[in-house]
Amino acid sequence: MIPRLFFKIVNLELRKGMSYRVDFWVNAIVSFFAAMGVMYFLWDSIFTASAQGRIGGYTLEEMILYYVLVILIAKLVRGPNQMVGIADDIYKGSLTKYQLFPTPYLVFKYAEHLGSLLPAIIQLVIFGILSPLIFKFPDAMTITPITILTCINVVMLANLLFFALSLPLQLVAFWADNVWSLIVMNHFISGLLGGAMLPLELFPDWAVSLLAYTPFAYLYHFPVRILTGHIGHQQLWMGIGVMSCWILLLAACSWLIWKAGNKRYTGVGI
Protein backbone atom coordinates (compact mmCIF):
# COMPACT_ATOMS: atom_id res chain seq x y z
CA MET A 1 0.00 0.00 0.00
CA ILE A 2 1.35 3.41 -0.92
CA PRO A 3 2.01 5.72 2.07
CA ARG A 4 -0.27 8.41 0.60
CA LEU A 5 -3.23 6.01 0.68
CA PHE A 6 -2.29 4.84 4.18
CA PHE A 7 -2.41 8.41 5.46
CA LYS A 8 -5.67 9.11 3.60
CA ILE A 9 -7.28 6.18 5.45
CA VAL A 10 -5.88 7.46 8.75
CA ASN A 11 -7.26 10.90 7.92
CA LEU A 12 -10.70 9.55 7.02
CA GLU A 13 -10.88 7.61 10.27
CA LEU A 14 -9.82 10.71 12.24
CA ARG A 15 -12.86 12.53 10.87
CA LYS A 16 -15.13 9.59 11.61
CA GLY A 17 -13.92 9.55 15.21
CA MET A 18 -14.90 13.19 15.64
CA SER A 19 -18.40 12.73 14.17
CA TYR A 20 -19.97 11.85 17.50
CA ARG A 21 -19.43 14.71 19.94
CA VAL A 22 -21.54 13.32 22.78
CA ASP A 23 -19.84 9.95 22.63
CA PHE A 24 -16.44 11.66 22.60
CA TRP A 25 -17.05 13.69 25.76
CA VAL A 26 -18.91 10.95 27.64
CA ASN A 27 -16.17 8.48 26.79
CA ALA A 28 -13.45 10.95 27.72
CA ILE A 29 -14.84 12.17 31.00
CA VAL A 30 -16.63 9.11 32.36
CA SER A 31 -14.00 6.52 31.47
CA PHE A 32 -11.12 8.58 32.85
CA PHE A 33 -12.75 9.72 36.08
CA ALA A 34 -14.43 6.37 36.78
CA ALA A 35 -11.17 4.45 36.39
CA MET A 36 -9.09 7.07 38.16
CA GLY A 37 -11.63 7.45 40.99
CA VAL A 38 -11.54 3.71 41.72
CA MET A 39 -7.75 3.59 41.71
CA TYR A 40 -7.35 6.73 43.82
CA PHE A 41 -9.69 5.62 46.62
CA LEU A 42 -8.40 2.04 46.53
CA TRP A 43 -4.73 2.96 46.87
CA ASP A 44 -5.40 5.76 49.32
CA SER A 45 -7.11 3.18 51.58
CA ILE A 46 -4.32 0.62 51.08
CA PHE A 47 -1.58 3.12 51.94
CA THR A 48 -3.52 4.38 54.98
CA ALA A 49 -4.22 0.84 56.24
CA SER A 50 -0.68 -0.42 55.69
CA ALA A 51 0.89 2.64 57.32
CA GLN A 52 3.83 2.21 54.93
CA GLY A 53 5.34 5.06 52.99
CA ARG A 54 6.09 2.84 50.00
CA ILE A 55 4.44 -0.20 48.42
CA GLY A 56 6.38 -2.02 45.72
CA GLY A 57 8.73 0.95 45.63
CA TYR A 58 5.91 3.45 44.96
CA THR A 59 4.76 6.28 47.23
CA LEU A 60 1.04 7.14 47.06
CA GLU A 61 1.79 10.13 44.82
CA GLU A 62 3.90 7.98 42.48
CA MET A 63 1.18 5.34 42.42
CA ILE A 64 -1.45 7.96 41.46
CA LEU A 65 0.85 9.33 38.75
CA TYR A 66 1.36 5.75 37.46
CA TYR A 67 -2.39 5.18 37.14
CA VAL A 68 -3.08 8.56 35.49
CA LEU A 69 -0.44 7.75 32.89
CA VAL A 70 -1.39 4.11 32.42
CA ILE A 71 -5.08 4.96 31.91
CA LEU A 72 -4.25 7.59 29.28
CA ILE A 73 -1.57 5.52 27.54
CA ALA A 74 -3.76 2.40 27.51
CA LYS A 75 -6.32 4.34 25.42
CA LEU A 76 -3.59 5.02 22.87
CA VAL A 77 -2.33 1.45 22.88
CA ARG A 78 -5.73 -0.26 22.62
CA GLY A 79 -7.60 2.27 20.53
CA PRO A 80 -11.36 2.73 20.88
CA ASN A 81 -13.74 -0.04 19.77
CA GLN A 82 -11.18 -1.54 17.42
CA MET A 83 -10.61 -4.70 19.38
CA VAL A 84 -13.34 -6.53 17.49
CA GLY A 85 -13.33 -4.56 14.23
CA ILE A 86 -11.83 -7.36 12.13
CA ALA A 87 -13.82 -10.14 13.81
CA ASP A 88 -16.95 -8.07 13.20
CA ASP A 89 -16.10 -7.64 9.52
CA ILE A 90 -15.79 -11.42 9.17
CA TYR A 91 -18.90 -12.18 11.21
CA LYS A 92 -21.15 -9.61 9.52
CA GLY A 93 -19.71 -10.04 6.02
CA SER A 94 -18.37 -6.47 5.82
CA LEU A 95 -15.00 -7.97 4.89
CA THR A 96 -16.42 -8.30 1.37
CA LYS A 97 -16.13 -4.55 0.83
CA TYR A 98 -12.42 -4.56 1.66
CA GLN A 99 -11.70 -7.70 -0.32
CA LEU A 100 -12.79 -5.91 -3.47
CA PHE A 101 -10.26 -3.12 -2.94
CA PRO A 102 -6.84 -3.43 -4.57
CA THR A 103 -5.21 -2.93 -1.16
CA PRO A 104 -4.10 -5.35 1.59
CA TYR A 105 -6.97 -5.67 4.06
CA LEU A 106 -4.90 -5.97 7.23
CA VAL A 107 -2.84 -2.85 6.40
CA PHE A 108 -6.10 -1.02 5.64
CA LYS A 109 -7.46 -2.02 9.05
CA TYR A 110 -4.28 -0.94 10.81
CA ALA A 111 -4.54 2.47 9.13
CA GLU A 112 -8.16 2.67 10.36
CA HIS A 113 -6.99 1.60 13.82
CA LEU A 114 -4.40 4.41 13.88
CA GLY A 115 -6.95 6.93 12.65
CA SER A 116 -9.32 6.02 15.44
CA LEU A 117 -6.75 7.17 18.01
CA LEU A 118 -7.38 10.90 17.63
CA PRO A 119 -10.01 11.09 20.41
CA ALA A 120 -7.58 9.25 22.71
CA ILE A 121 -4.81 11.73 21.83
CA ILE A 122 -7.08 14.70 22.58
CA GLN A 123 -8.13 13.07 25.86
CA LEU A 124 -4.47 12.51 26.71
CA VAL A 125 -3.67 16.19 26.17
CA ILE A 126 -6.72 17.42 28.13
CA PHE A 127 -6.23 15.13 31.13
CA GLY A 128 -2.46 15.44 30.94
CA ILE A 129 -2.93 19.16 31.62
CA LEU A 130 -5.78 18.81 34.12
CA SER A 131 -4.44 15.91 36.20
CA PRO A 132 -1.70 17.84 38.05
CA LEU A 133 -4.42 20.29 39.14
CA ILE A 134 -6.69 17.51 40.40
CA PHE A 135 -4.26 14.96 41.88
CA LYS A 136 -1.16 15.33 43.99
CA PHE A 137 1.89 14.13 42.07
CA PRO A 138 5.44 13.51 43.38
CA ASP A 139 7.40 16.69 44.10
CA ALA A 140 10.39 15.59 42.03
CA MET A 141 8.89 14.86 38.61
CA THR A 142 11.13 12.78 36.39
CA ILE A 143 9.20 13.42 33.16
CA THR A 144 11.43 15.30 30.68
CA PRO A 145 11.18 16.19 26.97
CA ILE A 146 13.53 13.24 26.23
CA THR A 147 11.38 10.73 28.14
CA ILE A 148 8.24 12.14 26.45
CA LEU A 149 9.77 11.70 22.97
CA THR A 150 11.01 8.19 23.75
CA CYS A 151 7.63 7.29 25.23
CA ILE A 152 5.78 8.51 22.09
CA ASN A 153 7.89 6.18 19.93
CA VAL A 154 7.44 3.23 22.28
CA VAL A 155 3.67 3.85 22.52
CA MET A 156 3.49 3.68 18.71
CA LEU A 157 5.29 0.36 18.82
CA ALA A 158 3.09 -0.83 21.71
CA ASN A 159 0.02 0.11 19.65
CA LEU A 160 1.27 -2.05 16.79
CA LEU A 161 2.07 -4.84 19.25
CA PHE A 162 -1.45 -4.75 20.71
CA PHE A 163 -2.91 -4.80 17.21
CA ALA A 164 -0.70 -7.78 16.31
CA LEU A 165 -1.67 -9.51 19.57
CA SER A 166 -5.41 -9.17 18.97
CA LEU A 167 -5.17 -10.04 15.27
CA PRO A 168 -4.85 -13.85 15.46
CA LEU A 169 -7.67 -13.93 18.02
CA GLN A 170 -9.94 -11.84 15.81
CA LEU A 171 -9.16 -14.02 12.80
CA VAL A 172 -10.52 -17.03 14.68
CA ALA A 173 -13.89 -15.54 13.64
CA PHE A 174 -13.41 -17.34 10.31
CA TRP A 175 -14.06 -20.58 12.22
CA ALA A 176 -15.90 -19.60 15.38
CA ASP A 177 -18.12 -16.71 14.23
CA ASN A 178 -18.26 -15.11 17.67
CA VAL A 179 -14.90 -14.44 19.30
CA TRP A 180 -16.02 -11.91 21.90
CA SER A 181 -14.93 -14.18 24.78
CA LEU A 182 -11.41 -14.46 23.31
CA ILE A 183 -11.17 -10.70 22.92
CA VAL A 184 -12.34 -10.10 26.50
CA MET A 185 -9.81 -12.68 27.71
CA ASN A 186 -7.04 -10.91 25.79
CA HIS A 187 -8.14 -7.55 27.20
CA PHE A 188 -8.13 -8.90 30.75
CA ILE A 189 -4.87 -10.87 30.52
CA SER A 190 -2.97 -8.12 28.73
CA GLY A 191 -4.32 -5.60 31.25
CA LEU A 192 -3.25 -7.72 34.21
CA LEU A 193 0.14 -8.84 32.91
CA GLY A 194 0.82 -5.57 31.12
CA GLY A 195 0.60 -3.37 34.18
CA ALA A 196 -2.73 -1.66 33.43
CA MET A 197 -4.30 -3.06 36.60
CA LEU A 198 -1.24 -3.21 38.87
CA PRO A 199 2.31 -1.91 38.47
CA LEU A 200 4.47 -4.94 37.60
CA GLU A 201 6.79 -4.16 40.55
CA LEU A 202 4.03 -5.58 42.79
CA PHE A 203 4.41 -9.01 41.16
CA PRO A 204 6.96 -11.54 42.55
CA ASP A 205 10.48 -11.15 41.12
CA TRP A 206 10.33 -14.46 39.20
CA ALA A 207 7.10 -13.32 37.52
CA VAL A 208 8.62 -9.97 36.55
CA SER A 209 11.65 -11.76 35.01
CA LEU A 210 9.35 -14.07 33.08
CA LEU A 211 7.06 -11.26 31.92
CA ALA A 212 10.06 -9.48 30.40
CA TYR A 213 9.99 -12.09 27.60
CA THR A 214 6.26 -11.83 26.95
CA PRO A 215 4.62 -9.10 24.86
CA PHE A 216 2.36 -8.02 27.73
CA ALA A 217 4.91 -6.17 29.85
CA TYR A 218 5.61 -3.79 26.97
CA LEU A 219 2.04 -2.71 26.34
CA TYR A 220 1.38 -0.35 29.26
CA HIS A 221 3.96 -0.68 32.04
CA PHE A 222 7.00 -0.20 29.82
CA PRO A 223 5.86 3.08 28.17
CA VAL A 224 4.78 4.53 31.53
CA ARG A 225 8.09 3.67 33.18
CA ILE A 226 9.95 5.18 30.21
CA LEU A 227 7.92 8.38 30.56
CA THR A 228 8.66 8.63 34.27
CA GLY A 229 12.37 8.10 33.58
CA HIS A 230 12.75 4.68 35.20
CA ILE A 231 14.07 2.76 32.18
CA GLY A 232 17.75 2.87 31.29
CA HIS A 233 19.24 2.72 27.79
CA GLN A 234 20.01 -0.99 27.88
CA GLN A 235 16.55 -1.88 29.16
CA LEU A 236 15.00 0.39 26.54
CA TRP A 237 16.76 -1.30 23.61
CA MET A 238 16.12 -4.74 24.99
CA GLY A 239 12.44 -3.88 25.37
CA ILE A 240 12.22 -2.56 21.81
CA GLY A 241 13.93 -5.76 20.59
CA VAL A 242 11.47 -8.03 22.41
CA MET A 243 8.52 -5.98 21.13
CA SER A 244 9.79 -6.16 17.53
CA CYS A 245 10.30 -9.94 17.74
CA TRP A 246 6.75 -10.43 19.04
CA ILE A 247 5.29 -8.17 16.37
CA LEU A 248 7.04 -10.17 13.62
CA LEU A 249 6.03 -13.50 15.14
CA LEU A 250 2.39 -12.48 15.62
CA ALA A 251 2.24 -10.95 12.12
CA ALA A 252 3.51 -14.22 10.63
CA CYS A 253 0.95 -16.26 12.61
CA SER A 254 -1.82 -13.84 11.57
CA TRP A 255 -0.82 -14.13 7.92
CA LEU A 256 -1.08 -17.93 8.03
CA ILE A 257 -4.44 -17.81 9.84
CA TRP A 258 -5.68 -15.17 7.37
CA LYS A 259 -4.72 -17.33 4.38
CA ALA A 260 -6.44 -20.42 5.80
CA GLY A 261 -9.47 -18.49 7.08
CA ASN A 262 -10.10 -16.78 3.77
CA LYS A 263 -10.97 -20.10 2.18
CA ARG A 264 -13.76 -20.52 4.72
CA TYR A 265 -15.20 -17.03 4.28
CA THR A 266 -18.74 -17.08 2.92
CA GLY A 267 -19.50 -13.35 2.83
CA VAL A 268 -22.75 -13.66 4.77
CA GLY A 269 -25.30 -10.90 4.45
CA ILE A 270 -25.14 -10.38 0.69
Binding site: S19, Y20, Q99, L100, P102, T103, T266, G267, I270
Partner: protein
Amino acid sequence: MIHVQNLRKEFTVHQKPPGLLASMKSLFVRDTITKVAVKDVSFHVDKGEILGLIGANGAGKTTIVKMLSGIIHPTSGSIDVLGFNPWQRQHNFCKQIALIMGQKAQLWWDLPAADGFLLLREIYQVPPKEHQEMLDFMLDMLDVRDEVNIQIRRLSLGERMKMELIAALLHKPQVVYLDEPTIGLDLSAQRAIRKFILEYRDTVQPAMILTSHYMEDIERLCKRVVILLNGQFVYDGPLQDVVKQFSTHKIITVKMHTPGNIPQLDPKIELLEDNGDELKFKVKTEEVGAVSQHLLANICGADLSVGEVNTADVIETIFSDSI
Protein backbone atom coordinates in the same frame (compact mmCIF):
# COMPACT_ATOMS: atom_id res chain seq x y z
CA MET B 1 -14.37 -11.19 -20.72
CA ILE B 2 -15.97 -13.63 -18.26
CA HIS B 3 -15.67 -17.38 -18.80
CA VAL B 4 -17.13 -19.83 -16.30
CA GLN B 5 -16.67 -23.59 -16.71
CA ASN B 6 -18.32 -26.30 -14.60
CA LEU B 7 -18.47 -24.06 -11.55
CA ARG B 8 -19.49 -25.75 -8.32
CA LYS B 9 -19.77 -24.55 -4.74
CA GLU B 10 -20.54 -26.61 -1.68
CA PHE B 11 -21.09 -25.23 1.82
CA THR B 12 -20.91 -27.16 5.06
CA VAL B 13 -23.56 -25.84 7.43
CA HIS B 14 -24.44 -26.70 11.02
CA GLN B 15 -27.85 -28.08 11.81
CA LYS B 16 -29.56 -27.75 15.16
CA PRO B 17 -33.06 -29.01 15.92
CA PRO B 18 -35.21 -26.69 18.08
CA GLY B 19 -35.30 -26.97 21.87
CA LEU B 20 -33.06 -26.52 24.89
CA LEU B 21 -31.76 -30.10 24.83
CA ALA B 22 -30.61 -29.76 21.23
CA SER B 23 -28.94 -26.44 22.08
CA MET B 24 -27.04 -28.10 24.95
CA LYS B 25 -26.08 -31.03 22.76
CA SER B 26 -24.75 -28.66 20.11
CA LEU B 27 -22.23 -27.33 22.65
CA PHE B 28 -20.48 -30.71 22.43
CA VAL B 29 -21.48 -32.30 19.13
CA ARG B 30 -22.74 -30.60 16.03
CA ASP B 31 -24.48 -32.13 13.05
CA THR B 32 -23.38 -30.76 9.72
CA ILE B 33 -24.74 -31.14 6.23
CA THR B 34 -23.20 -30.28 2.89
CA LYS B 35 -25.33 -28.00 0.75
CA VAL B 36 -24.60 -27.68 -2.93
CA ALA B 37 -25.25 -24.03 -3.75
CA VAL B 38 -24.04 -24.10 -7.36
CA LYS B 39 -23.91 -27.23 -9.51
CA ASP B 40 -21.63 -27.31 -12.55
CA VAL B 41 -22.63 -24.01 -14.10
CA SER B 42 -20.96 -22.78 -17.32
CA PHE B 43 -21.50 -19.53 -19.20
CA HIS B 44 -19.65 -16.56 -20.64
CA VAL B 45 -20.23 -12.82 -20.85
CA ASP B 46 -18.83 -10.60 -23.60
CA LYS B 47 -17.66 -7.00 -23.59
CA GLY B 48 -20.58 -4.58 -23.56
CA GLU B 49 -23.09 -7.30 -22.67
CA ILE B 50 -25.44 -7.32 -19.66
CA LEU B 51 -26.25 -10.89 -18.65
CA GLY B 52 -29.27 -11.43 -16.41
CA LEU B 53 -28.86 -14.11 -13.77
CA ILE B 54 -32.35 -15.23 -12.80
CA GLY B 55 -33.40 -17.59 -10.06
CA ALA B 56 -35.60 -17.86 -7.00
CA ASN B 57 -34.15 -17.17 -3.52
CA GLY B 58 -31.42 -19.71 -2.80
CA ALA B 59 -30.92 -20.55 -6.47
CA GLY B 60 -27.22 -19.69 -6.23
CA LYS B 61 -27.13 -16.32 -8.03
CA THR B 62 -25.32 -14.40 -5.32
CA THR B 63 -22.94 -17.32 -4.69
CA ILE B 64 -21.93 -17.19 -8.36
CA VAL B 65 -21.38 -13.42 -8.16
CA LYS B 66 -19.29 -13.87 -5.01
CA MET B 67 -17.10 -16.45 -6.76
CA LEU B 68 -16.74 -14.27 -9.85
CA SER B 69 -15.58 -11.33 -7.74
CA GLY B 70 -13.10 -13.43 -5.75
CA ILE B 71 -14.88 -13.17 -2.40
CA ILE B 72 -15.36 -16.89 -1.99
CA HIS B 73 -13.43 -19.87 -3.23
CA PRO B 74 -15.16 -22.27 -5.65
CA THR B 75 -15.24 -25.96 -4.71
CA SER B 76 -14.42 -26.92 -8.30
CA GLY B 77 -14.56 -25.56 -11.83
CA SER B 78 -12.74 -22.69 -13.44
CA ILE B 79 -13.36 -18.96 -13.71
CA ASP B 80 -11.53 -16.56 -15.99
CA VAL B 81 -12.35 -12.88 -15.63
CA LEU B 82 -10.26 -10.55 -17.81
CA GLY B 83 -7.57 -13.25 -17.85
CA PHE B 84 -7.41 -13.45 -14.04
CA ASN B 85 -8.45 -16.11 -11.57
CA PRO B 86 -10.65 -13.97 -9.27
CA TRP B 87 -9.79 -16.01 -6.18
CA GLN B 88 -6.16 -14.85 -6.35
CA ARG B 89 -7.46 -11.29 -5.91
CA GLN B 90 -4.53 -9.68 -7.70
CA HIS B 91 -4.56 -5.90 -7.44
CA ASN B 92 -4.80 -5.48 -11.21
CA PHE B 93 -7.91 -7.64 -11.18
CA CYS B 94 -9.50 -5.72 -8.27
CA LYS B 95 -8.88 -2.43 -10.09
CA GLN B 96 -10.97 -3.58 -13.03
CA ILE B 97 -14.04 -4.98 -11.32
CA ALA B 98 -16.94 -3.65 -9.25
CA LEU B 99 -19.60 -5.36 -7.19
CA ILE B 100 -22.73 -3.42 -6.32
CA MET B 101 -24.85 -5.03 -3.64
CA GLY B 102 -28.33 -3.65 -3.17
CA GLN B 103 -28.54 -5.13 0.31
CA LYS B 104 -25.13 -4.13 1.62
CA ALA B 105 -23.70 -0.62 2.00
CA GLN B 106 -20.11 -0.24 0.89
CA LEU B 107 -19.61 3.45 1.51
CA TRP B 108 -18.60 4.73 4.93
CA TRP B 109 -21.77 5.13 6.97
CA ASP B 110 -20.61 8.05 9.13
CA LEU B 111 -19.07 10.16 6.38
CA PRO B 112 -20.45 12.16 3.46
CA ALA B 113 -20.20 10.39 0.11
CA ALA B 114 -17.71 13.05 -1.05
CA ASP B 115 -15.16 11.83 1.53
CA GLY B 116 -15.70 8.22 0.46
CA PHE B 117 -15.24 9.13 -3.22
CA LEU B 118 -11.93 10.83 -2.44
CA LEU B 119 -10.67 7.77 -0.60
CA LEU B 120 -11.76 5.53 -3.46
CA ARG B 121 -9.79 7.75 -5.85
CA GLU B 122 -6.70 6.96 -3.79
CA ILE B 123 -7.52 3.27 -3.46
CA TYR B 124 -7.93 2.82 -7.21
CA GLN B 125 -5.25 5.42 -8.03
CA VAL B 126 -7.43 7.30 -10.49
CA PRO B 127 -5.84 10.53 -11.81
CA PRO B 128 -7.62 13.54 -10.18
CA LYS B 129 -8.84 15.05 -13.48
CA GLU B 130 -10.27 11.76 -14.74
CA HIS B 131 -11.87 11.14 -11.33
CA GLN B 132 -13.53 14.57 -11.28
CA GLU B 133 -14.88 14.22 -14.83
CA MET B 134 -16.38 10.81 -14.07
CA LEU B 135 -17.78 12.03 -10.74
CA ASP B 136 -19.42 15.09 -12.34
CA PHE B 137 -20.92 12.94 -15.08
CA MET B 138 -22.41 10.46 -12.60
CA LEU B 139 -23.63 13.04 -10.05
CA ASP B 140 -25.51 14.87 -12.80
CA MET B 141 -26.80 11.71 -14.41
CA LEU B 142 -28.23 10.42 -11.12
CA ASP B 143 -29.21 13.89 -9.88
CA VAL B 144 -27.54 13.63 -6.46
CA ARG B 145 -25.10 16.56 -6.60
CA ASP B 146 -26.85 18.30 -3.68
CA GLU B 147 -26.56 15.22 -1.45
CA VAL B 148 -22.87 14.55 -1.92
CA ASN B 149 -21.82 16.38 1.25
CA ILE B 150 -24.43 14.76 3.52
CA GLN B 151 -23.53 11.81 5.78
CA ILE B 152 -24.46 8.53 4.09
CA ARG B 153 -26.59 7.40 7.03
CA ARG B 154 -28.79 10.48 6.65
CA LEU B 155 -29.63 9.83 2.98
CA SER B 156 -32.78 8.10 1.73
CA LEU B 157 -32.48 4.53 0.46
CA GLY B 158 -32.68 5.69 -3.16
CA GLU B 159 -30.05 8.39 -2.71
CA ARG B 160 -27.80 5.95 -0.87
CA MET B 161 -28.08 3.39 -3.66
CA LYS B 162 -27.21 6.05 -6.23
CA MET B 163 -24.12 6.98 -4.18
CA GLU B 164 -23.18 3.29 -3.96
CA LEU B 165 -23.41 3.03 -7.75
CA ILE B 166 -21.19 6.07 -8.21
CA ALA B 167 -18.67 4.73 -5.68
CA ALA B 168 -18.49 1.39 -7.44
CA LEU B 169 -18.11 2.78 -10.94
CA LEU B 170 -15.81 5.77 -10.33
CA HIS B 171 -12.76 3.78 -11.41
CA LYS B 172 -14.47 2.72 -14.67
CA PRO B 173 -14.43 -1.04 -14.07
CA GLN B 174 -14.40 -3.33 -17.08
CA VAL B 175 -16.45 -5.98 -15.27
CA VAL B 176 -19.47 -5.03 -13.16
CA TYR B 177 -21.58 -7.31 -10.98
CA LEU B 178 -24.93 -5.87 -9.97
CA ASP B 179 -26.58 -7.87 -7.21
CA GLU B 180 -30.18 -6.66 -6.87
CA PRO B 181 -29.29 -3.00 -7.40
CA THR B 182 -32.90 -1.75 -7.28
CA ILE B 183 -34.15 -3.73 -4.28
CA GLY B 184 -36.48 -1.70 -2.08
CA LEU B 185 -36.39 1.39 -4.29
CA ASP B 186 -39.40 3.36 -5.52
CA LEU B 187 -40.31 3.30 -9.20
CA SER B 188 -38.63 6.58 -10.13
CA ALA B 189 -35.37 5.57 -8.42
CA GLN B 190 -35.53 2.17 -10.15
CA ARG B 191 -35.96 3.89 -13.50
CA ALA B 192 -33.11 6.32 -12.84
CA ILE B 193 -30.77 3.49 -11.90
CA ARG B 194 -31.71 1.41 -14.96
CA LYS B 195 -31.13 4.40 -17.22
CA PHE B 196 -27.79 5.03 -15.57
CA ILE B 197 -26.68 1.41 -15.96
CA LEU B 198 -27.48 1.51 -19.68
CA GLU B 199 -25.64 4.81 -20.06
CA TYR B 200 -22.60 3.38 -18.30
CA ARG B 201 -22.72 0.27 -20.51
CA ASP B 202 -22.86 2.42 -23.65
CA THR B 203 -19.98 4.65 -22.49
CA VAL B 204 -17.53 2.14 -20.99
CA GLN B 205 -18.62 -1.12 -22.66
CA PRO B 206 -18.00 -3.38 -19.64
CA ALA B 207 -19.17 -6.98 -19.21
CA MET B 208 -22.01 -6.86 -16.69
CA ILE B 209 -23.92 -9.47 -14.72
CA LEU B 210 -27.21 -8.47 -13.16
CA THR B 211 -29.20 -10.43 -10.61
CA SER B 212 -32.63 -9.12 -9.71
CA HIS B 213 -36.03 -10.31 -8.60
CA TYR B 214 -37.66 -7.46 -10.49
CA MET B 215 -38.48 -8.70 -13.98
CA GLU B 216 -38.58 -5.13 -15.21
CA ASP B 217 -34.86 -4.80 -14.41
CA ILE B 218 -34.15 -7.91 -16.44
CA GLU B 219 -36.45 -6.98 -19.32
CA ARG B 220 -35.10 -3.44 -19.65
CA LEU B 221 -31.41 -4.23 -19.19
CA CYS B 222 -30.66 -7.76 -20.37
CA LYS B 223 -30.90 -9.25 -23.83
CA ARG B 224 -29.53 -12.57 -22.62
CA VAL B 225 -30.37 -14.45 -19.42
CA VAL B 226 -29.17 -17.47 -17.50
CA ILE B 227 -31.85 -19.21 -15.45
CA LEU B 228 -30.81 -21.14 -12.36
CA LEU B 229 -32.90 -23.64 -10.44
CA ASN B 230 -31.58 -24.89 -7.11
CA GLY B 231 -28.03 -24.04 -8.15
CA GLN B 232 -28.39 -25.78 -11.49
CA PHE B 233 -28.25 -24.22 -14.91
CA VAL B 234 -31.49 -24.63 -16.89
CA TYR B 235 -31.34 -22.00 -19.62
CA ASP B 236 -28.84 -19.69 -21.32
CA GLY B 237 -30.10 -17.61 -24.20
CA PRO B 238 -32.06 -14.59 -25.37
CA LEU B 239 -34.74 -13.38 -22.99
CA GLN B 240 -37.49 -13.48 -25.62
CA ASP B 241 -36.78 -17.18 -26.30
CA VAL B 242 -37.56 -18.11 -22.68
CA VAL B 243 -41.27 -17.96 -23.55
CA LYS B 244 -40.86 -20.18 -26.62
CA GLN B 245 -38.84 -22.76 -24.71
CA PHE B 246 -40.69 -22.93 -21.43
CA SER B 247 -44.21 -21.66 -21.97
CA THR B 248 -46.88 -24.33 -21.71
CA HIS B 249 -49.74 -21.89 -22.18
CA LYS B 250 -51.04 -19.28 -24.63
CA ILE B 251 -53.22 -16.27 -24.05
CA ILE B 252 -56.47 -16.06 -26.01
CA THR B 253 -57.90 -12.54 -26.20
CA VAL B 254 -61.55 -12.17 -27.06
CA LYS B 255 -62.75 -8.70 -28.09
CA MET B 256 -66.53 -8.62 -27.81
CA HIS B 257 -68.72 -6.42 -29.99
CA THR B 258 -71.37 -6.31 -27.23
CA PRO B 259 -69.76 -5.88 -23.80
CA GLY B 260 -71.05 -7.59 -20.69
CA ASN B 261 -72.50 -10.62 -22.41
CA ILE B 262 -70.36 -13.51 -21.05
CA PRO B 263 -71.97 -16.88 -21.58
CA GLN B 264 -71.43 -19.97 -19.42
CA LEU B 265 -68.01 -21.41 -20.45
CA ASP B 266 -66.21 -24.65 -19.72
CA PRO B 267 -64.89 -24.21 -16.10
CA LYS B 268 -61.49 -25.63 -17.19
CA ILE B 269 -60.88 -22.45 -19.22
CA GLU B 270 -59.03 -20.01 -16.95
CA LEU B 271 -60.27 -16.42 -17.26
CA LEU B 272 -57.28 -14.12 -16.61
CA GLU B 273 -58.77 -10.68 -17.14
CA ASP B 274 -62.20 -9.23 -17.69
CA ASN B 275 -62.07 -5.67 -19.00
CA GLY B 276 -65.72 -5.46 -19.98
CA ASP B 277 -65.41 -5.66 -23.75
CA GLU B 278 -62.16 -7.66 -23.68
CA LEU B 279 -61.60 -11.06 -22.06
CA LYS B 280 -58.26 -12.85 -21.66
CA PHE B 281 -58.01 -16.59 -21.18
CA LYS B 282 -54.92 -18.65 -20.25
CA VAL B 283 -55.01 -21.92 -22.16
CA LYS B 284 -52.66 -24.92 -22.48
CA THR B 285 -50.85 -24.77 -25.83
CA GLU B 286 -52.19 -28.12 -27.01
CA GLU B 287 -55.79 -27.05 -26.21
CA VAL B 288 -55.70 -23.70 -28.05
CA GLY B 289 -57.59 -25.02 -31.09
CA ALA B 290 -60.36 -26.68 -29.14
CA VAL B 291 -60.80 -23.77 -26.73
CA SER B 292 -60.88 -21.23 -29.57
CA GLN B 293 -63.68 -23.15 -31.24
CA HIS B 294 -65.54 -23.42 -27.92
CA LEU B 295 -65.24 -19.66 -27.34
CA LEU B 296 -66.31 -18.71 -30.85
CA ALA B 297 -69.26 -21.03 -30.58
CA ASN B 298 -70.40 -19.61 -27.24
CA ILE B 299 -69.65 -15.90 -27.56
CA CYS B 300 -71.63 -14.16 -30.26
CA GLY B 301 -70.03 -11.26 -32.13
CA ALA B 302 -66.38 -11.35 -31.06
CA ASP B 303 -62.86 -11.15 -32.53
CA LEU B 304 -60.38 -13.69 -31.22
CA SER B 305 -56.56 -13.57 -31.17
CA VAL B 306 -53.90 -15.90 -29.73
CA GLY B 307 -50.75 -14.54 -28.07
CA GLU B 308 -47.87 -15.52 -25.79
CA VAL B 309 -47.86 -15.53 -21.99
CA ASN B 310 -45.58 -12.74 -20.70
CA THR B 311 -41.97 -13.58 -19.81
CA ALA B 312 -42.35 -12.84 -16.10
CA ASP B 313 -45.22 -15.34 -15.82
CA VAL B 314 -43.22 -18.01 -17.64
CA ILE B 315 -40.24 -17.53 -15.35
CA GLU B 316 -42.49 -17.58 -12.30
CA THR B 317 -43.95 -20.87 -13.54
CA ILE B 318 -40.46 -22.35 -13.99
CA PHE B 319 -39.60 -21.43 -10.39
CA SER B 320 -42.88 -22.63 -8.90
CA ASP B 321 -42.71 -25.93 -10.78
CA SER B 322 -39.32 -26.57 -9.23
CA ILE B 323 -40.56 -26.21 -5.66
